[in-house]
Amino acid sequence: MNTASLPRRRFLCQTAAVGAAAALARAGAPGAPPAPDPASPPGIVDTHVTLFRWPFRRLKYDATPALVAKLRRHRITEAWAGTHEALLHKDLAGANERLAAECRTHGEGLLRPFGSVNLAWPDWEEDLRRCHEEHRMPGVRLFPGYQTFDLSHPDLGRLIQLTAARGLILQIVFQMEDPRVHHPLLSLPVVDARPLVPLLERTPAARVQLLHFAGNVAGTDLRALVDRTGAWFEFSRWEGNGRLGQLIRPAPGGARPSVPAARVLFGSHAPYFPVETGLLRLFESPLDAETLHGLMHRNARRLLPA
């Protein structure tokens, strides 16, 4: 042992709370995180999970009961669930029906189904109607790119109007995985958010949430969406140390934040991403309890009441 190392370690230990040994015994037991204490803070609404098989490999939690158990272990009390089948299937009516049934059968009151419509397929309006009227879904989720249309599609404006008229949430997924590791058969375009801005300006009643969206390098599309529309966001794609806090907190000098915290929701992108990623992101930035409660559940409740 080199005793000269002690200052750094002592510093770390002194700034941490005591009781590491007992806590480690808990945290170190794989598959058995501590059961949440009922008296602890409220649960989390995860606005971005997806059920069924990812087309390109098995995911650790792609069986719904396993995913639900995993979410519960992390005090996620509600999850808005799309379906991986919507990426490539043509029969979205069938995919949506299976999603609704899966949420009923295995959701244990935790999963809320978000079916999908594909603007590139004919009669997508009927899929939307069934999602709303037959399956009582609170919203639908689009996967531009995989679904072979982009946000300049001429029907997108009508879909936004129809979802607004029905009181549905419209979720738009900007990316599912890093294009650098795509299967070679895939050649997906980058989804450009800019056409969304005028469409949302024309339909201010629309409730639209952008999933796995970080904006372009210059930040101009994010800026336009924040300033000119009422779009909501989740933070699974907000990468970088402290990025979440940097985007939602006022900058030094009181400059307004890039994204109002009240329009940001928790999204894990599970089971493709570990649920732990989103959870740790909440704690990585020095956020106060009020802000955390907003991100964890209050903002989601404003967008979609229980």
Partner: protein, 295 residues
Amino acid sequence: MDPLAFALNPADYGIPTRDELVAYRIWDTHFHGFNATSDPLGQFHANNLYVRRMGIERSITLEAGGTLRAPLEPAALDAEVRALLVKERAWLSGITPIDPGFPDESCAKMEAWIRRGPCIGIKYVGGNSRGIPCSHPNNDPIIRLAAELGATIYIHTWLKVGGTPRGPGRGNLPGESTPQDVVALARRFPDVRFICGHSGGDWELGVRVVRAQPNVLLEFAGSDPHSGAVDFAARELGADRLVWGGHGPSRSYATELAKVLESDLSHADRLKVFGGNFRRLAAPILRRQGIPFEL
């Protein structure tokens, strides 16, 4: 508000508290401490909040001397970085980037920054002007010198899909090594250990490439957190061959920590991955450089 305090208790959400993170003894072997074009020192100091907040015990910067864009050109802040590596040696170390397109100059830089300087290893960056990957014979004198110095050897690798016809690795930059390049080099130096960076870029393929080459360790920072990836790597390679990196500030510690915390690794294996394996690898040069550490 105490900037190191968590406003809510992470244990209530099934993730480690800060004292648990500290107890993992996390060594960030992939720290982009000074990889900013405008204000590298400012970025370094700003990032320290997150280093401390997430309980990182030691950060090992990859930009000690020169820059990743021009490894062999002296950078404006070289003297400041060198002084920081000495002053903050209790928690900060450095490895210096080299360029296999220029083996003589690379060796000279290693002499200056490792033998006569504070650094503990070398880094192969993601591409170079002469298009020389790490498998090229140019690398042999570099590796011989690294072995003599006991320096750690980190090799950025990717298998970017691209090209015509499209395939993994065909989208790489000129000189950007693949895990296949690392294996080819490691076969020539069976007594030297190498770190294959970014899990080969595509972990499902990268793990398969390095699996049979026992002197290649795998580091898996700098890519999206894929559920199950660390379990897969540990199953195929063994936890003793895995090394953790944070890749901050461009990547989030949340992203990189989650990869391990989500895995089914035992607590003992997590300790190895978070720092134990790298400390054993680097112990000789850490001692030689007089850097304080506990194994």
